[in-house]
């Protein structure tokens, strides 16, 4: 697995999402796209051009967006409900709970421009709470792909999965990490690089940063395991337990608050199954200052060098315990 080298070309994962949606939509007339005036930001222009009647635009009305999606599913359609993740999850959280998760409606919620993708627009437009809000809901898988390949695979999987899904996408360019032809499996982490000194776990826009951090660590003679963990719920318990047992320390990083997200989900497993030192990187419980997503990730210690330093510090904690 160490042979995977990130390609320098950056991809906007929304493109992979709509490419698969349009491909599946051609064969399955039940697929409809539902949006809140977000045709452009959800990149649904191509879908709309092909099947204008299958693009259901409720206007700027996120509660109706999710409720209407649930009703479309009840009527036998396969709705992909798309909106900026901050509004889709924040404004409509009770609809996601009652109409989608509790009702177990076969609706795919596509959170676009999640995390701090809208960086300079400020905290109103950041979606750094959505893992926390959605992963507590029964019936609702929560998935944040790390690249365009995993995004395409996850969309394909979501369309075939009978039940609700929250797919968290970004608009910030990321390099491809997973091999062509990768198949998405719910709740299964991908081993991107193996090592025994520490395990680095990330998803979404941060996984490639983890890979770069692992390369820095390798230069220092530290072999880090890197797991891409797109599925935040259900968490891959086996991969977390193995990571704890094999490497003795786990460092997580996410484009999300450090409260309640991927790191928290992993910590819940670690504390119950295999206690080892951990460090959770993310937005440290504040409304971020002005800046792009890339700037803010660096600012919050998730530049590759910052992650590598956090790993070194964590490994020191591990050895001080023995």
């Amino acid at each position: 697995m160490n042979a995977i080298t990130p390609s320098p070309k950056l991809h906007d994962c929304r493109d992979a999402f709509v490419a698969v949606l349009e491909r599946l939509g051609a064969d399955n007339p039940k697929i409809v796209a539902v949006c809140n005036d977000s045709v452009g930001s959800s990149k649904l222009g191509g879908f709309k051009a092909k099947w204008p009647e299958r693009l259901v635009n409720v206007g700027i009305a996120e509660q109706a967006l999710v409720g209407v999606g649930a009703g479309l599913a009840n009527g036998g359609l396969l709705p992909f409900v798309c909106g900026a993740a901050c509004f889709l999850t924040g404004r409509s959280l009770e609809q996601i709970k009652a109409d989608i998760a509790y009702s177990n409606a076969n609706v795919k919620l596509i959170g676009i421009s999640s995390g701090m993708a809208y960086g300079e627009l400020g905290p109103t437009h950041h979606s750094i709470e959505d893992f926390a809000w959605t992963r507590v809901l029964p019936n609702l898988p929560v998935v944040a792909p790390c690249d365009s390949i995993e995004t395409a695979a996850a969309v394909e999987w979501a369309a075939s999965y009978d039940g609700p899904v929250f797919l968290r996408l970004s608009r910030v360019g990321v390099p491809d990490l997973l091999p062509e032809g990768h198949k998405f499996e719910l709740g299964k982490a991908n081993l991107l690089r193996d090592g025994d000194a520490v395990t680095l776990v990330a998803n979404g826009t941060v996984t490639h940063r983890m890979m770069k951090a692992a390369a820095i660590l390798a230069e220092q003679g530290i072999q880090a395991r890197v797991l891409n963990m797109a599925t935040v719920r259900p968490i891959d318990i086996a991969a977390v337990v193995s990571a704890a047992r094999d490497t003795g320390a786990i460092l997580t990083a996410e484009e999300h608050s450090t409260f309640g997200g991927l790191g928290s989900a992993i910590a819940e497993v670690v504390v119950a199954e295999a206690p080892v030192p951990m460090k959770i990187l993310g937005v440290p419980g504040i409304f971020p200052p002005t800046g792009s997503a890339e700037f803010l990730l660096d600012e919050f210690g998730m530049a590759p060098a910052g992650i590598a330093q956090a790993a070194v510090d964590l490994i020191a904690r591990k050895s001080s315990r023995t």
């Binding site: 259901v56 409720g67 649930a70 009703g71 359609l77 709705p79 009770e94 609809q95 509790y102 009702s103």
Partner: protein, 270 residues
């Protein structure tokens, strides 16, 4: 089924509902009594449904958006054959599938989970829109409370229904003029409703929502726009001391009150 027969069924449902509230020691009896005539007309006359095939794709959809009157729906579903009649006795009991708000994954005939107000109408809009997209002939009916119309999500859905041209959608507002703790008028008075709905592009019919001969034709009305029935009802309808008393939103009758209520409803049946 004719209005007289429907009236009789509605009274039987009222009696069973009253008994279940009394035995469970909880329920929303006021809003149940106001809505039962509408539920009866839907399930015993208007809705095209098959109790033995609750997920039949061509079934008409009914959404109880005022989910807190779930008991009235359970009694109606039981009487119509969706669930066993004796199961109503389990209402609110540990592990009963009949909890205080309807669960579509457990109770056949329930289409979507409601409880928080302002959820049913947007979902119903999606159901009606799906029929438009697939060419299905089912119709969608949704029942809200009048106080519930204070939820902004309803108005998002009302606008969308008109925009989508949903002539296959009927919204019934149970206008019993009371919410949990006070009258609508003294809280956030959205009444009168008709002009507001008409301004959004809906057809509106005003009826006495406790009179079968007005309920049935209104529900069977077919037009070219989404249809709202403003059903003027009485909270606690059919039980004299409950009628139009805000206290009876979710009060439970004591033994003496229960006896009087049973007597009144039984007399109406005889």
């Amino acid at each position: 089924m004719q209005p007289n027969d429907l009236d009789r069924i509605a009274q039987q449902i009222r009696l069973r509902d009253l008994q279940a509230v009394f035995e469970a020691g909880a329920g929303h009896i006021g809003g149940e009594m106001s809505a039962i005539d509408i539920l009866t007309a839907l399930y015993f006359r208007v809705l095209r449904v098959w109790p033995d095939q609750p997920k039949h794709p061509d079934r008409d959809r009914f959404v109880l958006s005022k989910g807190h009157v779930a008991l009235a729906l359970y009694v109606t579903l039981a009487k119509r054959g969706f669930i066993p009649e004796e199961e109503v006795a389990t209402f609110l009991k540990p592990h009963s599938r009949l909890n205080g708000h309807p669960n579509c994954n457990k109770v056949p005939g329930v289409e979507t989970n409601t409880g928080p107000l302002g959820h049913g109408l947007p979902v119903a809009v999606g159901m009606a829109k799906a029929a438009k997209l697939t060419g299905a002939t089912y119709r969608t009916y949704v029942l809200t409370g009048d106080g519930e119309m204070q939820e902004g999500s309803n108005w998002e859905a009302i606008a969308s229904a008109a925009q989508f041209g949903l002539d296959n959608l009927t919204l019934i507002i149970d206008h019993n003029r009371f919410q949990q703790g006070a009258s609508l008028k003294d809280t956030n008075n959205l009444a009168p409703f008709p002009a507001k709905l008409e301004a959004f592009g809906w057809d509106v019919t005003e009826i006495n929502g406790n009179a079968m001969d007005e309920i049935v034709p209104a529900l069977e009305n077919r037009g070219s726009r989404p249809h709202c029935i403003v059903a003027h009802t009485n909270k606690g309808h059919g039980i004299s001391f409950m009628q139009d008393k805000v206290d009876w939103h979710h009060k439970v009758p004591n033994a003496e009150q229960y006896k009087i209520a049973v007597a009144e409803l039984s007399e109406a049946l005889s």
